[in-house]
């Protein structure tokens, strides 16, 4: 255990916090210094993330690495336990990566009322929460980080947001708070009700996963899962808990929207994969058809919502509902295949929708409006931006060869043969609905593209001076665009990281006995506890 192994994750989480403290000490007037410090902080964080990526042992992605486990709150037996495995690694990388780009983008894009100091402090605190959530291996720690992101985002929307920002910010906050209150109840119930063999009551996610709900009667499992479900589903957001999302996105400043779409929504799906499924597998089996149902409803519903929008950002926001529907559909199949797809979908959606929000922000910046009826001819006035928009629309609609496809297709594929002895006809119906959803996705995205980019500019903007993509924008965007292509062509970049981890940590309890699994055999690291529980699960 060398220095790096034991400190890397802690640093990744808390360097932004240190940066935030430093920012507080810099006078508000020294904007350049503030920006530079922020950039340096996020870069340092990214540096450590990259270090983690490099030193990560890809041969055993299903094992937790860089693990640190210290006592934190003794009375409740809660630990400061951080670690990454193949499931969290991509998310952690995404989070620290996008944050850097957001800082770069916002360099001279600070929305009113300006005040970079406050804005960047919030951004850094947000990063603490995001990174922390993805590395936490203790339910309480997870909960804390999960909640930390609320306040900065609340202020970002509320202070730097659009005209209806107060409503949106409160709505965002209350929804999430409501979910997390129930989630906390469920965590506590897990603590008290699950008796991990040889350990007793614990908040440790790893141990709880190994126990896999041992000693819980089914109805209790269902209830606890219900609490977790609402908590995470609100964050995702799944239909019908999605209504905070369009408002929050529409009103949020660009960077806020980007982070919201790229990372914050992932906290919910990550929670499903990391917590809900492995810890309560039996309940997950009972819930999965309903989750699947809500997912496909979300896919269609989000698409229909998009078609009704007149505001570009709101449209993209609704598209998130649909896309996250695919992610959740993948999760609801309880198969390694589907959950891998979900993780891929999370990353892809993070990049693509994040990028779309960047563009929406720049469009707003240039035109002062996001009304689709007033826009047009972006390709004419700012061809590069127009093409990037087209590119992202294509990526978003799931064009093969770009990242979006690998989130959708395998998810849909896995619905053909769901795990955990779920009903095949039901999930195949979902498959068809989801496939129809892809057409609708193409419909609304291209419709948006047509409205915004094609045609000629409306008379009111005919003579407007429109900046094409600026240097800062290029710097922030190019990495995303490259990644979208790279992941599209080489999906294995992510799949190879997640595959074993998902198979061993999330999907293992759902391997079906009656149908042939997609995955023939996966070698998981042997743990006496795991073996014991697996035996128990399969013995049922």
């Amino acid at each position: 255990m060398n220095w790096f192994d034991s400190w890397a994750l802690t640093l990744v989480v808390f360097i932004p916090a240190i940066g935030a403290v430093i920012l507080m000490l810099i006078p508000r007037e020294q904007e350049d210094a503030i920006k530079e410090v922020t950039l340096f902080t996020t870069l340092a964080t990214l540096g450590f993330t990259i270090g983690t990526l490099i030193k990560f042992d890809y041969g055993r992605t299903s094992t937790l690495q860089f693990s640190v486990d210290k006592n934190w709150i003794d009375v409740i037996n809660s630990h400061y336990h951080v670690a990454v495995d193949g499931i969290s690694l991509p998310m952690l990388a995404l989070s620290s990566f996008i944050t850097v780009l957001c800082v770069i983008y916002s360099w001279n894009h600070f929305p009113e009322p300006h005040n970079p100091k406050a804005f960047l402090i919030l951004l850094l605190i947000l990063e603490v929460g995001m990174n922390g959530t993805f590395v936490a291996q203790d339910l309480i720690l997870f909960f804390i980080f999960f909640e930390i992101v609320l306040l900065p985002m609340f202020f970002m929307i509320g202070v730097w947001g659009g005209p209806n920002r107060e409503y949106a910010s409160i709505k965002f906050f209350l929804f999430t708070l409501f979910g997390s209150a129930l989630m906390l109840l469920s965590f506590l119930a897990l603590y008290f009700k699950v008796d991990v063999p040889g350990v007793g009551h614990t908040f440790d996610m790893v141990l709880l996963s190994k126990a896999a709900g041992a000693g819980l009667v089914h109805s209790t499992q269902l209830l606890i899962f219900g609490g977790l479900f609402i908590g995470f589903a609100i964050k995702v957001p799944m239909f019908p808990f999605h209504t905070w999302l369009p408002d929050a996105h529409t009103e949020a400043p660009t960077v806020g929207s980007v982070l919201l779409a790229a990372i914050l929504l992932k906290l919910g799906t990550y929670g499903f994969i990391r917590i809900a499924l492995p810890i309560l597998p039996e309940a997950a089996k009972s819930w999965a058809p309903w989750i699947g149902l809500l997912s496909v409803i979300g896919i269609i519903y989000g698409a229909l919502g998009c078609l009704a929008q007149t505001d570009m950002k709101r449209l993209i926001a609704f598209s998130s509902v649909a896309h996250m529907g695919f992610v959740m559909l993948g999760i609801s199949t309880l198969t390694t295949f589907g959950i891998n797809a979900a993780i891929f979908g999370m990353v892809a959606h993070g990049l693509i929708t994040g990028m779309l929000f960047f563009i929406a922000g720049s469009v707003q910046h240039n035109y002062g409006t996001r009304e689709l009826s007033r826009l047009g001819g972006l390709l004419k006035q700012a061809p590069k931006m127009g093409w990037i928009l087209g590119f992202c629309a294509m990526a978003s609609l799931g064009l093969p060869g770009l990242a979006g496809f690998w989130g959708e297709f395998p998810a849909v594929l896995s619905t053909f043969n769901p795990g955990g002895d779920l009903s095949q006809p039901l999930f195949r119906t979902y498959m068809v609905i989801a496939a129809i959803g892809t057409v609708l996705a193409a419909g609304y995205l291209l419709w948006m593209l047509q409205k915004v980019a094609f045609g000629t500019p409306k008379p009111e903007f005919a003579d407007a001076h429109i900046h094409d993509v600026t240097t800062y924008e290029w710097t922030a965007w190019v990495p995303i665009l490259l990644l979208i292509v790279a992941l599209g062509i080489f999906p294995n970049i992510i799949f190879r990281v997640t595959d074993d981890a998902v198979a061993c940590q999330t999907a293992a309890p759902f391997v079906s006995k009656t149908t042939v699994p997609i995955s023939p055999s996966v070698k998981c690291p042997a743990s006496p506890l795991a073996a014991q529980t697996t035996a128990k699960v399969s013995g049922r």
């Binding site: 709150i73 409740i76 804390i144 509320g158 920002r165 209350l174 708070l177 109840l185 506590l188």
Partner: protein
């Protein structure tokens, strides 16, 4: 008739060490009074320093008592100095100390009796200190009155202000009515059990079980404390009194005095009515369940509609009181289920909640006082754009409100957490139901905690005056102290968790 002069009164063995904190407080009272007499009128605010020093001085024997480590049972267990009592004594003293810090400039700049103010504060604190150790109905009653009677006066301290008068009379009358009801209940308990010492009462009940009269008597004897913690429906005085009383007094009422009530509740419920065999719990947990649910819900709902921040905080404190009552119900449920261990854990949850609540609520009031120095108003609208004028105050206020709302990394989350933990631990359907009510309420609570935050940060200032708000040093110290507690405990809750754990 009373001529038996030869009666020999056995001098009880007196553990002076155990009483040292209380004695320091009494001594401070005396010094304050004398100093007030001696000091010229213009200098009499200096009594605050004496009070402050005395309060801090009282912490010294507490520290030595903690250090000495063993529990002290005096008078056959009627008066106990254990970790629980010491922790709460320390809490009361520190809370009062912060109240003194809040009061210094408020009292100095107003037309008040200065020495008397601090004297009365100290008397009340003394009552709390006694309360923490009392394990006897008579002591509890006396301590409760010692807490209350000075605060009746303090609430009325702005003598020429009609609102303050009204605050005083409402507080007084409801307080007296409640204590009469409580006394009636106590008299019945005494009548049935023949004892006033809580341990004897517990022993009697675990032998005989409860009869309807005892159930009603227990309930009646809770009324006085329910009034003190402003549990719905005994809360009516609170909003009016909080609004009318001088703000530092309000802070004191909402934290120290309320905590006194909770300590009394812990004493009577846990040491008196809580029985390991669970025979009595059945008859009182539903009461506390209902009180908790009502307090949370009603407090939150009404707080939604407040425009005055003090009044809002009053209702918030009603709701927070409801949250603090939740573990009582949990303890009762666990007790009735035959899990005394869970009940003890629930009680430690109350203690932890109290400590955290004290820090954040006092802090919030400190900011209210600081802002009111400038705006002379407690309307939420007067907070518009505070972020522009005084970003520091706005951030700090935001932290306190967020903490009250239970947002993590501010101490409030841990308070809520232990509360949820207690109720989930109890685990029955009723417990879960209460937990869900609490969860829903903790969300509703955010609605109104967010309103000042929105006003401060999202709204533009209404005044043109952008000069910075001057915060006097004591007030600054109070704010700094509370905010650091809120942040540190939020990140490392073990600090307070340990206290709560030690207490039970």
């Amino acid at each position: 008739m009373l001529s038996a002069a030869t009666v020999h009164i056995a001098t009880p063995a007196f553990d002076w060490h155990a009483f040292a904190p209380d004695l320091v407080l009494v001594a401070t009272m005396v010094v304050v009074l004398v100093a007030d007499l001696l000091l010229p009128d213009r200098e009499s605010w200096r009594t605050s320093s004496i009070a402050a020093v005395g309060l801090l001085g009282a912490l010294v024997p507490i520290a030595t008592l903690v250090h000495s480590g063993h529990d002290r049972n005096l008078f056959n267990g009627a008066y106990v100095v254990d970790h629980y009592a010491l922790a709460l004594k320390a809490f009361f003293i520190i809370a009062t100390y912060i109240t003194v810090l809040l009061s210094v400039d408020y009292i100095r700049e107003g037309d008040y009796y200065k020495g008397e103010f601090y004297f009365l504060l100290l008397v009340s604190t003394f009552g709390m200190s006694i309360m923490a150790s009392s394990r006897d109905l008579i002591s509890l009653f006396v301590a409760l009155e010692t807490i209350s009677i000075p605060t009746f006066v303090l609430a009325t301290f702005r003598k020429h202000d009609r609102a303050s008068n009204e605050a005083g009379v409402k507080y007084y009358l409801i307080g007296v009515l409640s204590s009469a009801l409580m006394l009636y209940g106590m008299s019945l308990i005494y009548g049935v059990t023949g004892a006033t010492k809580l341990s004897d009462i517990a022993a009697y009940m675990s032998q005989h079980g409860t009869v309807p009269l005892v159930a009603v008597a227990m309930f009646l004897s809770l009324v006085g404390f329910a009034f003190k913690v402003s549990a719905v429906p005994f809360h009516f005085w609170a909003p009016d009194t909080y609004e009318g009383a001088p703000t530092p007094v309000t802070a004191f009422l909402s934290v120290a005095s309320k905590a006194g009530g909770f300590v009394a509740l812990i004493n009577i419920v846990y040491f008196g009515f809580f029985l390991p065999n669970g025979r009595a719990a059945d008859s009182w947990w539903p009461v506390l369940w209902v009180l908790a649910a009502l307090s949370m819900t009603l407090g939150n709902l009404v707080a939604l509609r407040q425009t005055n921040i003090v009044r809002m905080l009053a209702y918030s404190s009603v709701a927070q009181g409801g949250f603090m009552l939740v573990p009582f119900a949990a303890a009762g449920i666990a007790g009735a289920d035959g899990h005394p261990g869970k009940a003890a854990a629930a009680m430690s949850a109350v203690v932890i909640y109290l400590l955290i609540y004290g820090a954040m609520n006092l802090g919030a009031f400190a900011v209210v006082i600081a802002v009111a120095r400038r705006t002379r108003s407690a309307e939420i609208s007067s907070y518009d754009g505070l972020w522009e004028i005084a970003p520091g105050l706005a951030v700090v206020m935001g932290i306190f409100l967020a903490s009250l709302a239970g947002v993590p990394f501010f101490a409030g989350w841990f308070a809520k957490f232990v509360m949820f933990r207690a109720i989930i631990d109890a685990g029955t359907g009723w417990a879960i139901a209460l937990g869900i009510i609490a969860a829903v309420n903790s969300v509703i609570a955010f609605f109104y905690y967010a309103r000042p935050i929105r006003a401060m940060i999202f709204h533009a200032p209404t005044t043109e005056d952008r000069t910075p708000i001057v915060i006097p040093q004591p007030l600054f110290a109070a704010i700094a102290l509370t905010v650091s507690v809120v942040v540190v405990v939020g990140i490392y809750p073990q600090v307070f968790a340990r206290v709560g754990e030690l207490a039970f």
